[in-house]
């Protein structure tokens, strides 16, 4: 751990990323190793094919959405900074400690985590989860188990439960409200290895 700062120099924008995302040097290093592993052709950035090469991810029902979340709108490649920035959402929230120079709204705050999850549903970025979008996610997750009518009913019920302003879609606030009792930090955190 002591000498990691020197090898951190290999990591592009290492110091800045550390500050921005709150990852420790060891974490960053490991993520960089992983990045390089995924980047088979040594391009310095990842394309969607590289993501799809991860076997379990392709089996994941919402795998393509997850992959899509890494790519900024309009971009076709993911460089290391974006990679890390996205992964920063999944750090466990620290309650008591505040790092020097920590961002006012760190990536792993509850709000940001929820926003990330929200964007998984809301592919067209209009700020609402419409019925159709919800149906798509449900279809991906429930797949072969249910009929179309069942899906519709479930989606109906979900929207009815959450939709407070009756616009037949779930806005981010409604989304957040419906999850207010859930321990998001627990559900959306990964313990990153060092």
């Amino acid at each position: 751990m002591g000498s990691s700062s020197s090898s951190l120099n290999n990591v592009p924008d290492g110091q800045q990323l550390m500050q921005e995302t709150g990852f420790s040097a060891a974490h960053l290093l490991r993520l960089y190793e992983r990045f390089k592993f995924l980047d088979k052709d040594n391009r310095g950035h990842l394309r969607s094919e590289d993501f799809e090469a991860v076997p379990e991810l392709s089996e994941n029902p919402i795998g393509d959405r997850i992959v899509g979340a890494f790519f900024l709108p309009g971009q076709e490649t993911v460089d290391f900074s974006s990679f890390v920035r996205v992964l920063a959402h999944f750090r466990p929230t620290e309650k008591n400690r505040t790092r020097a120079g920590a961002q006012p709204d760190p990536a792993n705050s509850r709000n940001r985590k929820l926003k990330f999850a929200f964007r998984l549903y809301d592919q067209d970025r209009d700020g609402k989860i419409s019925r159709i979008e919800l149906l798509q996610v449900l279809r991906e997750m429930l797949g072969m188990q249910v009929t179309e009518e069942q899906l519709q009913s479930i989606a109906d019920r979900a929207i009815q439960e959450a939709d407070l302003d009756k616009d037949d879609a779930i806005s981010f606030d409604e989304f957040r409200k419906s999850l207010e009792k859930v321990n998001i930090d627990h559900k959306m955190s990964i313990r990153f290895l060092e």
């Binding site: 993520l31 992983r34 592993f37 995924l38 993501f51 991860v54 076997p55 379990e56 991810l57 994941n60 029902p61 919402i62 795998g63 997850i66 992964l87 999944f90 466990p92 999850a117 998984l120 549903y121 919800l134 996610v137 449900l138 997750m141 429930l142 188990q145 249910v146 009929t147 009518e149 069942q150 519709q152 009913s153 479930i154 109906d156 019920r157 979900a158 929207i159 009815q160 439960e161 959450a162 989304f175 419906s178 999850l179 009792k181 859930v182 321990n183 998001i184 930090d185 627990h186 559900k187 959306m188 955190s189 990964i190 313990r191 990153f192 290895l193």
Partner: protein
Amino acid sequence: MDRFALAAIWTKNGVICMTFLLFLCCTTGICEPNEPTPTDSTNLETAILLPDDPEDPQAYPEEEKVSNLPVFTMDYTRIQIPFEFTLWILLASFSKIGFHVYQKITIWIPESCLLIGIGLIVGGIMHSVKEEPPAVLTSNVFFLYMLPPIVLDSGYFMPTRPFFENVGTVVWYAVVGTLWNSIGIGLSLFAICQFEVFDLQNINLQENLLFATIISAVDPVAALNVFDDVGVNEQIHIVIFGEGLFNDAVTVVLYSMFAFLADMPAIDSVDVFLGVARFFVVGVGGVLLGLLFGFVAAFTSRFTNKVREIEPLFVFMYSYLAYLVAELFAISSIMAIITCAITMKYYVEENVSQRSCTTIRHVVKMLATVSETLIFFFLGVVTITTEHEWNWAYILFTLLFAFLWRGLGILVLTQIVNPFRTIQFTVKDQFGLAYGGLRGAICFALAFTLGENINRKNLFVTASIALILFTVFVQGISIRPIVEYIKIRRTNKDLNTINVEIHTRTMEHLICGVEDLCGQWGHYYWKDKFKKFNDRILRRILLRDTRSESSIVSLYKKLELQNAIELLDTTMGDISAAPSVVSLQDELMEASRPKKKFLTGDIRKMHDILSKNMYKIRQRTTAFRGKNTLQDNNHAREILMRRHASIRRSLHGQSFREQPVQNVSKSLKYYSLQPGGNLDSAFPLRRRSRGIPEEDHLQTFGASPRSSSRSLIPMTTLKTIKEQGSSGAPSSPSVHPLEPSSGEHHLDEGFSGQSLRGRKAPVATPRRRSSNRDDEDEDNGFSENQAAGAEQPPPPQGWVPEVRDPGANEAGNPLLRQSAHGSQRSWRT
């Protein structure tokens, strides 16, 4: 007024209790000279037989003396044992009732304290009357009869998801924590014993360690009794729960090891290694045995669909077998039975009928409650009546060290384990964990079973009782205010919405994906792997119907079903055959109850209109309630229809409804008079006999709902009356589901989540689901069978929703898509 009533009940209960006490004391006193007090349950049978023999020879000579036939005889000794047993249980249960009369008591004082208190009182009475308590609290009785139900209950209702997420922590605390406690307390007490002043010289190290093992085991029963009331957060709950259950493995090993060693003058280092090896045998062996029995039980339940009545038996027998076999090999029986219960539950609940499922849950709870009550009760009784040896120093230091070492242990262990946890334990949590380490009956029973070769056995017994009483009373009572004061995170109940379920699942997939991306193996990786294994292999073997169902779908079905059942429940209050899922969800029901008032009118309206169709649902629910599933249900149906009629007649109908009520009731009666009649023939008959006026009534009937502001979906009423003859029975079953749904739709005010605009309500499913699987045959019979009289009202004289789409109807019950099998499964999420 309330206070008087309360006081009256309280004193009445008190009177009953006192009467029982006196009766018990008297009977034990009277029968004392007649036969030896049973020392062991194994003696029970011989004891029961005993009275017979002395009786017979006496009877003969007596006959010679008394020439007349005795009109009234009494033979108490014959029934003594079961009788006293029952009385004790009743007494304990009465006290339980009594506690709840005064709500405030149970808030501040946990039930375990109250039970021990009552036990103390009874013990005091018995002692003053110089009676021996029934020697039931022997080791065998406790470990073989009283403990298994409690542990089975804990295992069966263990929340598996949080448990498996925390399994590492739980095992860590259980194993290492108990070891730490035992050795720490043992060594400290040994150090104390060295002081001559305390007169404890003759307790050697092994005995101290043995004693320390006994008292270091945290007892889940007592702790959870307290924690459940307080409602601490899930993490603490599951850790204490798990710890209390799993430290049995360690306790068993240490206990046998130290007991063995206590005989020996010196400890061999080999023995320590053997001890460690033994620990693994005990722990892992228990788990494996439990798994084995669990799978066998699950497999058996696959084939029990023809013998529904004895299905619950398998659950109990297999888990008890697991326990006993583990006891046979002296491996951890508690772990065996818990593992068995956890494994079994998942598969068995999918295989058995709904009724069996309810029965199992109910009986498990009942047995556990009885057992627990008795244990605490006897603890109190025996406290007074055993021989005690009191040694101030030893006992005080025991209390001190127990407290100290537990606190230290939790602190140190948490520091080590926290970095590995996603949700870390705060200092407050740790305090809760440490303070919640109550000791209970296991500790006491273990002390009681100490061999006689331990020379200070009475001291140990006294010390352990003192510790138990201290922890249960002092810590148990004070933990609630302390928890509230320091604001430990409380639990979030009520997370039962579809949204939460969906989003949680999405997040799980997300985390799984990100973990894969990062190349890490986290929790979800293993969960996923297990799920795949489960789906591919285990479910195929162990389940009868292997279609798996996402938790989202299950939850959705469950919620819809609850709403539907609530709806039905409001109308027919006396036929409230709500399935277990609903009855176990009492909070939901309670919450919706106040809404019933303003819904009754609508519901009654719906009820009137849908009378003939609704009673098909009624039939189902009645059959569900029937005593014997294999009985012919026509009888029940007939009665139901008549009752249906009479009930509705007794409803305060509004004016325009009274005639239809009578009409319908007459027609119902008419139906029941024609059990063998063909439906089509029956119906035209009725119409012909009543003629047009009935049609008019029916028409107005149809019209009124439409005009009423809170009406159901506007119906195409009149036309279909004429279509009557042609439209046959077959489409009716599909129509029925729609009716209740439409009713539901407009009763939206009361229910929050009912967008059944698709008329494809799964409300039909209550009809299906509430039926026992045995009624499946009826299901099939329904479409065709017209001989069983009045089963098949044709599409009700036009109360058909506008979109009358027979094609969609069949497919349109999304949850009827599957067979009854499939729909049945969904309750038990």
